[in-house]
């Protein structure tokens, strides 16, 4: 199955998002770049929901609402996911395209409740003649095309990938590995067929016994009962052995936890580090308040005023400059006129004696000036202050202390402080977690539990001994009865046809056993070898080198993954592999299994590269995005990645990605997103930016770290 496109409406914050997926066998990778909270997990869930409904979602997400928490209360919201995909029918030897539409109406209620209407699923076969709707059998067909039990392999996230082989007892890991192998190699159908054949053989034996008379019938009944008893004992032995192994795992786990506590470190040192981190955090919090205070200064300062209304202030100043140019201000003429009247002589030499025409004229001028003098004085005063204010502003701008610079530097300071605060807070949480590990009460609890479990393990071991003895006895009984039955059947007069039927059923059972044997041994060996190659390639280990850490990884006959290191030692994947190695091992296993079985399927992984870096990170992506080999089945890889995960992989992604796009969320403005979309509610939008680009929609504040190119839209 290959995904072609998806259109998601009103699923969580994915209000209206359309996606295309690469179907190019040479560039099988689709990159969906999205930061935390930008819809990666919602997208994964939307695809799961489209194929399997709510049942397909992780258990803890099934009861949650599908719609955005920002949706209005009591207003029904139509949720719909439309997926177009392509399926290769190996029997018919051709591809068929399907369109699947799953929809439901959800009405958010108060107190975080919601009502959900009847869900709908429509499936269409897309043909050249048009779409043909598949009616009643739609869901059954979807489940056949995309088996839900494979969804754990098709749709996953980085953490789940890691947990595939870690985080639980080895018996559970074996079950996980066994289940994946059974599903992908088709062992399940073969095992069912083998059971059917065993049932048929029993029926024929009963018929033969009936036809052969009372004696044969009695032996056959005793034989069947003895075989049932033997099977029961073997099942009990398997069950008890598994129980003993589980208890053993639990004891080892608790032992390691206890040893770990001893290795955690000195409580006093941890307390000192916690105290130092608290002081650092308090200091950074004070600095954060200081930066906010500086921002307030910017918001109330003269620089903001000049920045926002410079045009208008300049217009006002221009009015005063104009008065100055016309010598209206400064208003000094009144003093000169008064002086001339007192001297009784004008500047031009005319007499200003009382009673003259000139005296009357100058007196009138003085009166006129006296009337406007206060205004002139005020204008003059304002002119001086305004010129000074403007000069101060101009020099601030010249010195790089204008509003724009102050704003930019205070926002940068804020970002810096927040980053450091988050880092220190993370360190503090980690130190507290370490301190939690040396909780004395926990040590006591672990010690008690180890004691109890060791007793249970001894009891289980004794039970295993008893069962082994009983099984030996039962095997002897069955063998004797089979012998008796064989001799009695030889003597009995039974039709050849019945004997032939029984023999055919038993021969077919042998064939099924042999095929199962081949699949369980030879095929698994191929998967195991391929997994080994892929894993060693990723972790960069040379099995022949003297100093190499990893020598070999393989799947043993109990379906457990074994990691062999130098000196013939084995490592426990749960405790002795790093997070990056755990991810690499699981991906190597899944990829090997898919490659060997030729299963055509998309692999969609959310945040695949957490905990990996450097060469391991690059080699993981090289492996999971490699174009298919000539004989290999088509496949797709959809990686939902953050900018940090993408960093340093750009050239590889240029080569492997057929489609690349970006998702961003409006709620990240202004803290992370640079531009406001003008949308007042949280929604996720898609843009065409590939892994090397940014645009107005997806540009973020720290993009300069990622050397991205701005894409005009």
């Amino acid at each position: 199955m290959r995904l072609i496109s998806a259109h998601i409406r009103n699923f969580k914050l994915l209000e209206d998002v359309e996606l295309d997926f690469s179907t190019d066998p040479q560039r099988p990778l689709t990159i969906i770049r999205a930061e935390n909270g930008a819809g990666k997990t919602s997208l994964l869930y939307a695809l799961l929901w489209s194929f399997y409904g709510s049942e397909g979602l992780p258990r803890d997400a099934r009861g949650l609402r599908l719609t955005s928490t920002a949706s209005q209360i009591d207003i029904p919201v139509p949720v719909q996911v439309r997926v177009e995909f392509d399926y290769f029918d190996a029997t018919a030897g051709r591809h068929t395209r399907y369109r699947l539409i799953r929809s439901v109406t959800e009405t958010p209620r108060s107190d975080d409740r919601h009502d959900r209407g009847a869900p709908g699923l429509r499936l269409f076969r897309v043909t050249r003649r048009g779409d043909e709707e598949i009616g009643d059998g739609a869901q059954a067909l979807v489940l056949k095309l995309v088996p839900p039990r494979l969804s754990k392999i098709f749709f996953t996230n980085g953490d789940d990938v890691q947990q595939f082989i870690s985080g639980f007892a080895s018996t559970e890991r074996q079950e996980s590995v066994h289940e994946a192998i059974r599903l992908l190699l088709g062992l399940e159908q073969l095992e069912i067929a083998r059971q059917d054949l065993a049932g048929a053989s029993r029926i024929f034996k009963r018929e033969i016994a009936r036809a052969g008379g009372t004696g044969l019938s009695k032996i056959q009944q005793r034989l069947e009962k003895a075989q049932e008893e033997l099977e029961k004992l073997r099942r009990a032995l398997t069950h008890t052995t598994e129980r003993r192994n589980r208890i053993g795992e639990a004891v080892r786990k608790d032992d390691r936890a206890l040893a770990g506590i001893k290795g955690v470190g000195n409580l006093e040192e941890i307390n000192a580090r916690i105290e130092a981190l608290r002081l650092d955090i308090a200091d950074l919090e004070r600095r954060e308040l200081g930066v906010l205070s500086a921002m307030r200064q910017v918001l109330q300062g003269e620089t903001l005023s000049w920045h926002l209304i410079e045009d208008k202030l300049s217009d006002g100043l221009h009015v005063l400059d104009n008065l100055s140019d016309r010598n209206v201000i400064p208003g000094t003429s009144i003093e000169v006129l008064r002086d001339r009247l007192e001297l009784a002589e004008c500047i031009c030499g005319e007499s200003l004696e009382g009673g003259t025409e000139h005296h009357a004229h100058v007196t009138a001028l003085v009166a006129e000036q006296e009337e406007v003098a206060p205004r002139r004085a005020k204008q003059t005063e304002t002119w001086h202050h305004a010129r000074r204010s403007h000069a101060v502003h101009a020099s601030r701008v010249q010195e790089g202390r204008g509003f724009s610079e102050l704003r930019r530097s205070s926002l940068a300071d804020y970002t810096d402080v927040r980053h450091r605060l988050e880092a220190k807070s993370g360190d503090l949480r980690a130190e507290k977690a370490r301190r939690g590990l040396i909780d004395e009460e926990r040590v006591r609890r672990l010690t008690d539990r180890i004691g109890r479990n060791e007793k249970k393990k001894r009891d289980a071991q004794a039970e295993i001994g008893r069962l082994n003895g009983q099984i030996q006895g039962a095997e002897v009984s069955v063998s004797q009865l089979e012998d008796q039955y064989g001799k009695a059947e030889q003597k009995a007069k039974v039709g050849a046809s019945l004997r032939t039927k029984r023999e055919v059923a038993e021969d077919l059972m042998d064939v099924a056993d042999k095929i199962l044997g081949i699949l369980k041994t030879e095929k698994i060996q191929v998967v195991s070898d391929r997994m080994n190659d892929l894993f060693l390639d990723i972790v960069g280990s040379d099995p022949d080198a003297e100093v190499s850490v990893f020598r070999r990884v393989f799947i043993n006959d109990r379906f457990d993954i074994v990691i062999e290191v130098s000196g013939g030692r084995t490592l426990d994947p749960d405790f002795e592999l790093s997070g990056a190695q755990q991810r690499a091992l699981t991906l190597a296993f899944i990829w090997a299994l898919m490659e060997v079985t030729g299963r055509e399927a998309p692999r969609i992984i959310d945040t695949p590269l957490g905990m990996t870096s450097g060469g391991v990170k690059k080699r993981v992506v090289e492996m999971i995005t490699a174009p298919r080999s000539k004989e290999g089945a088509d496949f797709q890889v959809v990686l939902l990645m953050t900018r940090s995960e993408i960093r340093d992989l750009e050239p590889l992604l240029d080569d492997r990605a057929g489609v690349a796009l970006t998702l961003s969320c409006s709620k990240d403005y202004p803290r992370d997103l640079v531009n406001d979309w003008g949308i007042p509610r949280p929604i996720v939008r898609r843009c065409e930016c590939g892994h090397r680009e940014v645009c107005k929609i997806c540009q973020r504040r720290y993009d300069e770290q990622h050397a991205l190119v701005f894409r005009e839209t």
Partner: protein, 142 residues
């Protein structure tokens, strides 16, 4: 520096009561730096600048729909504001702009009412109003 005479000392400064009820508390506070403004006069001045920048005056309603928050005497605490106010008056009314302090305050209050509405919208629901306002002020205008 010579003292700047404050011709607006006797003029009352108002908020539209709707803005006063819904936003002022969230936008200003002396000790809380997460609120963008220390005093109401700082908020008023920023709103005035924004209104002038937008070139929009909002007619103030009747006295009953206004809340007095201070008088013009507060402008003396930042004398440059008096100078800027006077430049605005000259730009708006010409050479006689300095003759009518009450008209100038009326004009400034109408601009501030426009800007106040915008500031209220920007900061409403913001987790970090000081950061949001500083970011948005320049983003929206540049």
């Amino acid at each position: 520096m010579a003292t700047i005479l404050n011709p607006y000392a006797n003029q009352d400064l108002f908020w539209p009561s709707e803005f006063h009820e819904n936003h002022v508390e969230a936008l200003q506070g002396r000790g809380d730096v997460r609120k963008p403004f220390r005093r109401q006069i700082d908020l008023w001045w920023c709103a005035l600048c924004l209104g002038v920048r937008m070139g929009q005056r909002t007619r103030l309603g009747p006295r009953a729909k206004l809340v007095k928050f201070n008088d013009g005497g507060i402008l003396s605490s930042d004398p440059w504001r008096i100078t800027h106010l006077e430049l605005l008056a000259l730009a708006e009314f010409g050479e006689e702009g300095l003759d009518n302090p009450s008209g100038t305050i009326q004009m400034a209050s109408e601009y501030a009412a426009t800007g106040a509405r915008v500031i209220g919208e920007i900061c409403m629901g913001a987790a970090e109003p000081t950061l949001t306002l500083l970011t948005r002020l320049a983003d929206d205008l540049d």
